[in-house]
Symmetry: C2
């Protein structure tokens, strides 16, 4: 089976925004409240940051459970990695995730401001200013036969969609409105010319949107 | 995290039967038509017997995709392994699955008619007449820290439920009636005293029932 590029567990507001405006160190999702936007994922047993062994194992857990399933690398945008803008003043920043990032694979950060690769636990971050197709090629190589996760944010996902490089998308639509921010879409229907779509409401209140290439 | 005992992708009829009556070599599901009962799973990209690289990647695929996810062993009943009844006349029968069984782990077959273990590709079948708790202990040992799948049929699942050894169940209810056969339940509500339950209708026509221990 060929290697897929998969968007997983990416959450947007009812009005299509993956994050709010004004990202900062204190507010990684800008004016959006992550506790509200991503609240569907936190209670699940397979939420990557969970350490207590509990949690729900219903529908939402199938999605968080799939986060690592056959994934060998991640591609992310500069704003998922960091609140910084412009050239690095120093290299102290190593991502939002502490000493044990939840990726456990190579991660390719797309940025115009390159810096040396570094490793935290079993996650290695690489920095690249190449085009989407070239970054995907490098990520597939690094994934050693497994799939590649496209981790967002919305801008990066749109770039890969425009280049027609995405094989599957799982987008959870949360029952909140943001009004402005980083937009993934105006409507999921924008993708249905190229993708099959199943819409699955969850008891938690989000609506899972599952796309795969026609 | 502790090792779970998980029922996955077990399909029953609307009236609660996992298989029909009169199992034989030609009819592994007895009078039930597997093409009708399990038709939700066949089109998915992750159906274990698929070799063509195609298939759907909607909701149903999340369930077939989870079949191998963190599973280190399977426990199955004698009738899932074979249509034979009574003592083995010879040991030619090696299961329904040919030279490449879809399990890829140790499998523990619960039977009163013991025979030596054997290996096909990367699946090893062991035969045991121990009680459910002891079989689960052996399977967890063999699973080396991963979860154990309880593969069915209905009778074996009921035994493990009665012994209160099951942690999660995914049961797909197919839109067919069988009238008789191997019964899992009269109603899913029988389990809700001990399990949380989410009921998720699929576009394919089955209704996924997701149980996890309270």
């Amino acid at each position: 089976m060929s290697q897929l590029l998969r968007v997983q567990n990416f959450t947007v507001s009812l009005d299509g925004f993956g994050a709010g405006e004004g990202q900062s160190l204190e507010r990684p999702f800008g004016h959006a409240d992550p506790a509200e936007l991503v609240s569907w994922a936190f209670p699940t047993a397979s939420w990557p940051n969970r350490t207590d062994g509990g949690g729900t194992r219903g529908l939402d857990d199938y999605f968080t459970r799939d986060f690592h399933n056959n994934i060998g690398a991640e591609i992310m945008g500069a704003h998922k990695f960091s609140p910084h803008r412009g050239p690095w003043k120093d290299l102290d920043w190593q991502g939002w995730w502490g000493e044990e990032p939840p990726f456990h694979t190579p991660v390719f950060v797309m940025t115009h401001h390159l810096r040396p690769s570094f490793t935290l636990s079993d996650t290695t971050f690489h920095f690249t200013d190449a085009d989407p197709a070239s970054v995907l090629e490098a990520a597939k190589q690094a994934a050693q036969g497994k799939d590649v996760r496209l981790g967002g944010g919305a801008t990066v996902i749109r770039e890969f969609l425009e280049a027609d490089l995405v094989d599957t998308l799982h987008v959870a639509v949360a029952p909140v409105e943001l009004g402005s921010g980083a937009r993934l879409w105006k409507s999921p229907e924008e993708l249905t010319d190229r993708f099959n779509l199943e819409v699955v409401p969850s008891p938690s209140g989000v609506t899972h949107h599952l796309f795969w290439k026609k």
